[in-house]
Each structure stands twice: as C-alpha cells, then as structure tokens.
C-alpha cells in the first residue's frame, strides 16, 4: 500500500481514525492519574468488567427471547457495559486493599474473575454461535465503526474533559495528598469516586470503539512517556495527549500500509515514544 493509496482511500479510514483519536486522547489524559496513582491494571480490569456487562446482555437476551441485534434503546448492551464498568470504578475508588492483600492485587483478581466470566458466558451454548459478533462488540476492532459510535465517543470525551476542566484542582489535590485534602474538609471518597467514574465511563466506551489492548496501551504508555520527559504537570497532560494522538494516527497508517492489526500497531508506535525518556534515565537523568 502506497501513501497515495492510503490517502486516496480516506473514506475507509476516516471514521475509525476519528474514533481512535478521540479514544486515544481521552485515555491518555485519564491515564496520567492512573500512572501517578499506581493503579495501572485498573484499565484492564474495567475493560473486562465492561465486557461482562455485554456478555451478560447477550446471554439474558437469549434467555428472555430478545433480539440482541436490534434491542430497544433502553436495553442496549452499552448500558450493561457502562453499568458494570461504573460499578467496578466505584469499587476500585475505595482503595480496596489490606496489608496482607495489596489494592493492586485486588484489581488483578477482579481482572481475572471478569475475564473468566466473559469466557464462560461466551462459551455458553445459548450464544456460542454469536460469539464472534459479541467479541467484536466487546472489544471493538478499530476498523469498522458505525456513525453512532463516533457520537457516543465524542459525547463521552466531551463530558469527561469538561468534568476534569471544571474540577481539575480538586481531582489533582485528592490524588496527590488525600490526607491533607481531608484535613481541609474535602470528601476524598467522593472526589476519588468521581475520578474513577470518569475513568470507568471512558474505558467502557473506548473499549467498545477501539478494543481492550489499545485502550490499556493508551492509558499507560503515553502518560508514562510524558512523565519521563516533562517536569510540569500541565506539560505531562499535554504531552501525554499529544503522544496518544500521534500514536493513534501513525499506528493506523502503519496498520493500513503493512496490513497489521490496528490496535497492536497503535500500541507499538506509542511504545516508541518511551525511548527518549528511557534513554534519558539510562544516561542518569532525573
């Protein structure tokens, strides 16, 4: 595939590219909190929990005889995915953990259980023949994107960015020093819940749009690369989003040109942005 071929076939990749750019920027922005709070597996666990919601929807639809491919708006799988992701977010916002079982282990356990439940449901005889379709719905494919997906992704991104723009100082303060925030009268549990709900909502929608692997990748790699390179918090957020946008666009091009899997290509391109920061560390930088 030549450059001309890529740009000439613009109509093929325009919508998936828009969705990928929206999802990548949103994940990379929220990922700064995830990396700083050292809860990197939260996004993987929430992807799986959101998947449980979708799988459960198809199973329930088969049980009650609902047409799962043309459900009424109030019984759409996206609500199930959102409900499970937001429920998981609320749980993780409580900083579950104990001196004998770290919070990160709890998140790992949630991931394992959710992934197993999805597999069990998908292999149920009731929906086995639809498993491929359900899998696409669960984890997206970043290639075929219906127009409604763009709207859902754009609205989600707008809401999440708006919440973070309005409450930027509160969310950062509570993430940085919850004890001090509590002494000043902040309801840290409520602020933490708000942060995790934005993360859960974004992951649920983005996973369905571009897939679990790129969502996990964009949540971790661009923020990590930005934290290695920038020394001011605003610069970290800006750089993280910039790296994610560049990775999504370049990754999509590489995938298109070399016929590689789209999500994996995006993640690999994003990983290249880690090189300057790691090289700086190797040279004895900060």
């Amino acid at each position: 595939m030549t450059d001309v071929g890529f740009f000439a076939s613009y109509i093929l990749w325009r919508d998936p590219m828009i969705v990928a750019l929206l999802a990548a920027s949103l994940c990379a922005f929220l990922g700064v909190f995830i990396v700083l709070k050292r809860v990197v597996f939260v996004s993987a666990a929430l992807s799986q929990l959101s998947g449980v919601g979708v799988a459960l929807f198809f199973w329930l639809a088969s049980v009650i005889g609902l047409d799962a491919h043309h459900p009424p708006w109030f019984a759409n799988p996206i609500w199930f995915a959102l409900a499970f992701a937001l429920g998981g977010s609320a749980l993780f916002s409580l900083n579950l953990g104990h001196r004998r079982l770290a919070g990160e282990s709890v998140i790992g356990l949630a991931y394992l259980c959710a992934a197993s439940v999805v597999l069990v449901i998908l292999n149920s005889p009731r929906i086995a023949q639809e498993a491929h379709e359900v899998n696409d719905l669960l984890y997206g494919n970043a290639v075929a994107v219906p127009p409604a997906q763009i709207i859902i992704m754009a609205v989600t991104a707008a809401v999440v960015f708006a919440v973070h723009a309005i409450f930027a100082k509160e969310l950062m303060f509570v993430a940085f020093d919850p004890d001090m925030a509590r002494t000043l009268g902040y309801r840290t549990k409520a602020w933490n819940l708000l942060l995790f709900l934005t993360i859960g909502g974004a992951i649920s929608v983005a996973t369905r749009a571009i897939g679990a692997l790129p969502v996990f990748g964009f949540m971790i790699i661009p923020p990590a690369a930005a934290l290695l390179l920038a020394s001011r918090i605003r610069a970290v957020f800006a750089l993280s989003v910039g790296i994610a946008l560049a990775s999504a666009a370049l990754g999509y091009y590489v995938s298109f040109a070399l016929s590689l899997p789209t999500g994996a290509s995006m993640v690999l391109v994003a990983a290249l942005f880690l090189v300057p920061g790691l090289a700086n560390l190797a040279r004895g930088g900060r």
Binding site: L36, I166, F167, K169, E170, F173, A175, F176, D177, D179, M180, R182, T183, L184, G185, Y186, L227, A230, S231, R232, I233, A235, V236, R286
Partner: protein
Amino acid sequence: MDIIELHGVRVGYGKKPLLPPIDLSLGPGAFLGVVGPNGSGKTTLIRTMIGLLAPVAGEVRYPRGPRPAFGYVPQKGDIDLSFPLTAVEIVLMGRYPRIGRGRRPAAADRAAALRALAEVGVADLAPHAFHELSGGQRQRVLLARALAGEPEVLVLDEPTTGMDLPAERALLDQIAQFAEKGIAVLMVSHQLAAVANYAHDLCIVDRERQAVEFGPVEQVLTPARLTQLYGRPVAVETTRGYTTVFVADPPAGDGSPCTRRTSGAYPAVKP
C-alpha cells in the same frame, strides 16, 4: 476558648483501642508536643484530634465551631514525589478551600502562596519542582502550604525527620514563632528532647506500656515520671537553657562508668 478538646478519647483503628482514655485540650497559641517511641500511637492520636479518624470511644470537640482550619504537614514519606508539581503549585493547595469548588486560583491566591513561601524563607523555590528539593526544603514548602490556608491549628507529623541539626533547629524555631503569633501547634515527634525544648505542653504516649502522660513540659519531663513511663532509668539535664533527655543505664558492674544515651541534643546557644 479552646480549639480542640478531647474527653475520654480512646484512639485506634476499627474498634480496637491503642491507648488508654485521653483528656486534653488545645487553645490558641498553644504548642503541644506528642512524643513516644515508633509505633506508639502518636500519629493515630493526632489523626483523631484533627478528625481524620473517628475515636474508638470518647469525644473530640471543637468548641469554636464546626471544624477549625487545620494546616497539616504530613510525614516526609507520605508525600508522593512522582507527581511533577512545583513548590508554588503545592503551596496553592493550602488555599483551595478558600478558592471554592470548581474555581481557579486568583492572583490574590498566588500572592498568598508566595507570601507563605517567603514566610518560611524559601520564596526562591516557588518555580522549582518539588521532587528536586532537599528534604529540609520540602518540609518548608509543606509548612508554607499549611500556612497558606491561614490555619488556626498547625499540625506537624515528624516534621524534622531526616533533617540535619541546623536545619532542624531552624525549622523548630520558625514553628515556635507561629505559636507566638497565636496559631495552635500540634507536633508529633519521636525525639523527646527536640519537642521538649519548644513545646509548652507534652503528651507522651506509649502503646506497649498503655501509658499516656499529658501536662506542661516542666511537669511531665521529670526523671521520675519518664523513668516510670519508659521502665528504665531516664535522666533529664538542662545545660545553658537547653534540655537533653537520656537513658541512664546503670553501671555494668565491671567497673566501667555509667553510660548515657541521649535522645537528642542542640547547639548550646539559645536565641
């Protein structure tokens, strides 16, 4: 009128009390030092006093209103250095309750943050990344953050940990000045002598021995009470206005002289 009162308060986590019931009060300009061995319940006590933990029993009262304005300086290790924040961004956090939810800091808030940094002598560090500062500078920035909120009570949890003697002395001098200005100071330290030279009142806690001693420094800091509290012979000496406290081990019986283990010492110059 007192700012904080503890009435028969038992502190602990969950339903398990760590210490016997405690009655004490803290008024404006007071300087209370909370002292005890590592793991003795000091931090649990101050976290209860400032409302971060609910008491297992008894009552914490704030007679002046619903909740005093606290300025909190956490233990050194409690601050996450991976956040790329500058000194002035951290100090501004102390102003957040005054700024209001969902609103951005105004020029007046930035000016107040810079004033607080100047007050603790580190105005020049405002644009520097917090994680690049020395331990002493970080403590001063955190003290500035506590002051930026114009607190009624300044709460310091092991503020001098990891500092060299001159830096420790300078910081404690500064904290004492805030008490003179009418701010109540509540300071936790495992260094008995460090606190004894600055605090007006002492609260010595020892979870292992289930002991709590509270009162003016000159009453609590006596060899007899400390010996009883720690279960070992403890001596208190004052030299040129500075007090040192040390464990006075009895002679070994082999003719060697009595040994002393000081809990801290200060340059023999009083300002």
